[in-house]
Symmetry: C2
Subunit: 450 residues, 2 copies
């Protein structure tokens, strides 16, 4: 009798877009028992993280406590823990404090920033993955203007007012556009010795156009809009070195050059979280170049139909043979799909292979400036920006009531201001935090977080 | 001819309530040239800092960029710098990067937390002065519930769910009340293994009543309201030791006891910033027990009519012979007063001695719970809370448009939620930050903040 009542144990690792949408799809199902594990206590609305990095929104505006999001779903328990490993053979997830058994496992831990083997660049050029990253970027950007104001030497002032963004994908474009707006509008009247609008903002891209995943016409429109904000775009150029005083670049003709600057932001590369490799190793498979796990057409792991890898961590071949892009929509749709599949299987059913429905993509460049492609429709300028705003607000509202973000944006828009312009955590760079974290973790006992 | 055009140089140290109101009082005066120096780039609305510490508001909600606040005042320049010393003889303020001469100087650097000679307690019991402090407190409070949820041992769970607040002044009362609300309402349905409402919240006070600066009836009402929220108040009791596992206390009968707990918050003492002692030393005077500078009846420094010490840093004797309290209103009124005085003097006029007008004081305990005394009127419960809300919103709006705070509060009130419940900066305690900061500062060059 007991066996009949036994619930199907689903473990979901990661409370990002993929994990949360998988959880929600299980709502009301009393035959499953879900454990959602995340090392952070909040879901981060990553597409708006650059707004925190540039003082437009507060971190709490784009982060929803995971427990709040799923609190009404009685079949879910949430654990704020770190996953050390997954044991596919014994169907266990190893955490710092316990092991958890699963019947079905959904792994959705996403990606982290990659410095292409140059991790020593990280302290000079922070990237944008976490709330702490965003606050560190914000600190550096705002501090640069403060330091320029204090400085007397014109050459040093120029260094402080030179901002280099590495990587011309959506994040790089958004950052460069936002810094341009800060210097051209927000801070315009704030200083007495310097003219913030003189700031040099340089966007460095390796290929021959920015927003390479978009149609060529939109790359061109994005470049025009950025140029209109005074951003200098340097294409077909690679970074060869970074320090706290310069970025060295190499153009296609082999010419090397050092850009003298104090603020460098990294938006160039991502790679999978370490769980990707751990999973692939256990099934004797390789990951792809970015560390992503190759999955079956139902998002499951080869040889392990009970394990699913979704979102950025998975390499899922799209219809064109290329992997699906690392965007929120892929994770969301896969999360819903595998959740449905697991529930069908419990009733001895099945599902057709996962098919990604491309709802379009968009990148914002600044106030009333953006590019968007939705199906065959391509938009730029004000219309694209309005579409972007609308879609992101809808997205935010899904997780918790975010009318306040709308209020904040309305205010920012009409007042040309950015009210979250705080320089906090004076010296706490990403790297230092990381070192601290590692050190603490080794202390054992429950001292992990204290 | 040049001498005639020379402007009167006013230097103001500190962008808190005192400094900012002094600056504003100079608005439109073309015969002065003001330099406002603060080591932070924002004004902090300190009375609401506990709301950040308890997840009710974001840091950006209560912090206004100083440059924004004074941007329209053309006679002001702002420097984000650290003041190393003041040389009264040569009338110079020594900064990290330069020296600045003044004709009139206003020192308004306020206070910092004091551990009564037990600085080793700081890492176990953070205090509440800065945004970083508030975020650290928030991290510890929220993390305690997460750790309790993971823990299996009932004794350890009880430790994690025991919160000790040291000090029964307004900050201690507000923190204890807020933690009680978090556990009783906000998190009530968030966990599966623990019952957050079982949390023990203990408020420790040395004297025989909490809110000692208020009338006795209000202390009693505050105690009743806290008790109604389930806070245990321990009076006439001193802390003798703190670790990461316990707080040792000593009651008046000499009995020592250890409270087993993982979260301790310090709201017990403050002392002046180091500039207080540096100033007093130069005039051959003593500071008071809290390190505050004794001032003349016009807020000026003895022997130095051109130097004013206002707000928490000054010891100004009130009519009853006792020093004025360390509240925002004293700083605001003194800031306005010395600004007027300096301007009168420029026209060879003078002002009567500074007289503090007590507008009342209030402390909030929770949702619809507060105490207030305004002249002869004493309020508690809902009415006091409404008054508190109104006055603090007016206060916030003064500095920048803070309608969003109202929106946030309205939302929190109706939904019983606290949306800024983020656990951030995993291991970055106050102390570690401080050490980092000191280390960096010694590195010299412009590396100070980088």
């Amino acid at each position: 009798m007991v066996a009949e009542n036994k619930k199907h144990r689903v473990v979901i690792i990661g409370g990002g877009f993929g994990g949360l949408h998988a959880v929600k799809q299980f709502a009301g199902n009393k035959s499953v028992e879900i454990t959602l594990i995340d090392k952070r206590n909040f879901h981060l609305f990553q597409p708006l993280l650059y707004q925190v990095a540039t003082g437009g929104l507060s971190s709490a505006n784009i982060a929803s406590p995971i427990r709040s999001v799923v609190k009404k779903q009685k079949n879910v328990r949430v654990l704020m823990e770190h996953v050390k490993d997954i044991d596919l053979a014994s169907r266990r997830v190893r955490l710092d404090f316990e092991d958890i058994e699963y019947d079905s496992l959904i792994v959705a831990t996403g990606t982290k920033s990659s410095y292409f083997g140059h991790n020593e660049w990280e302290r000079f050029a922070p990237s944008l993955k976490t709330i702490e990253d965003a606050i560190e970027m914000r600190r550096r950007i705002l501090l640069a203007f403060e330091m320029a104001e204090i400085e007397k030497d014109p050459e040093k002032i120029r260094q402080w007012l030179t901002f280099v963004v590495v990587g011309g994908g959506p994040t790089g474009v958004e950052l460069a556009g936002a810094i341009a707006e800060i210097s051209r509008s927000t801070l315009r009247k704030d200083f007495r010795n310097i003219h913030p609008q003189d700031a040099n903002i340089i966007l460095i891209e390796g290929s021959d156009r920015i927003l390479g995943a978009y149609e060529a016409i939109l790359s061109q429109k994005a470049e025009e809009q950025l140029a209109g904000l005074g951003v200098k775009i340097v294409k077909k150029t690679f970074v060869t070195d970074i320090s706290d005083r310069f970025v060295k670049i190499k153009s296609p003709d082999g010419k090397e050059e050092a850009i003298s600057c104090r603020t460098v932001l990294w938006a160039a590369g991502i790679e999978s979280c370490s769980l990707g490799k751990k999973l692939s190793d256990q099934i004797g498979a390789q990951t792809d170049r970015m560390g992503r796990v190759f999955t079956n057409s139902d998002c499951s792991l080869p040889q392990h139909p009970e394990v699913f890898v979704i979102g950025d961590l998975g390499h899922f071949k799209g219809r064109d043979g290329k992997p699906l892009p690392g965007v929120a929509q892929v994770a969301i749709q896969q999360g819903r799909y595998v959740s449905k599949l697991i529930q069908r299987r419990l009733k001895n059913g099945n599902m057709p292979p996962f098919a990604y429905r491309d709802l379009g993509s968009m990148a914002t460049i600044g106030r009333s400036r953006a590019v968007a492609q939705i199906g065959f429709v391509k938009l730029w300028g004000y219309l694209a920006w309005a579409a972007w705003l609308f879609i992101h607000l809808i997205g935010l509202v899904q997780y918790s009531n975010r009318v306040l973000v709308l209020a904040q944006w309305t205010w920012n828009y009409w007042s040309f201001s950015r009210t979250a312009r705080l320089i906090t955590y004076p010296c706490c760079t990403n790297t230092q935090l990381q070192e601290e974290l590692e050190k603490k973790r080794c202390d054992g006992d429950n001292a992990k977080f204290q």
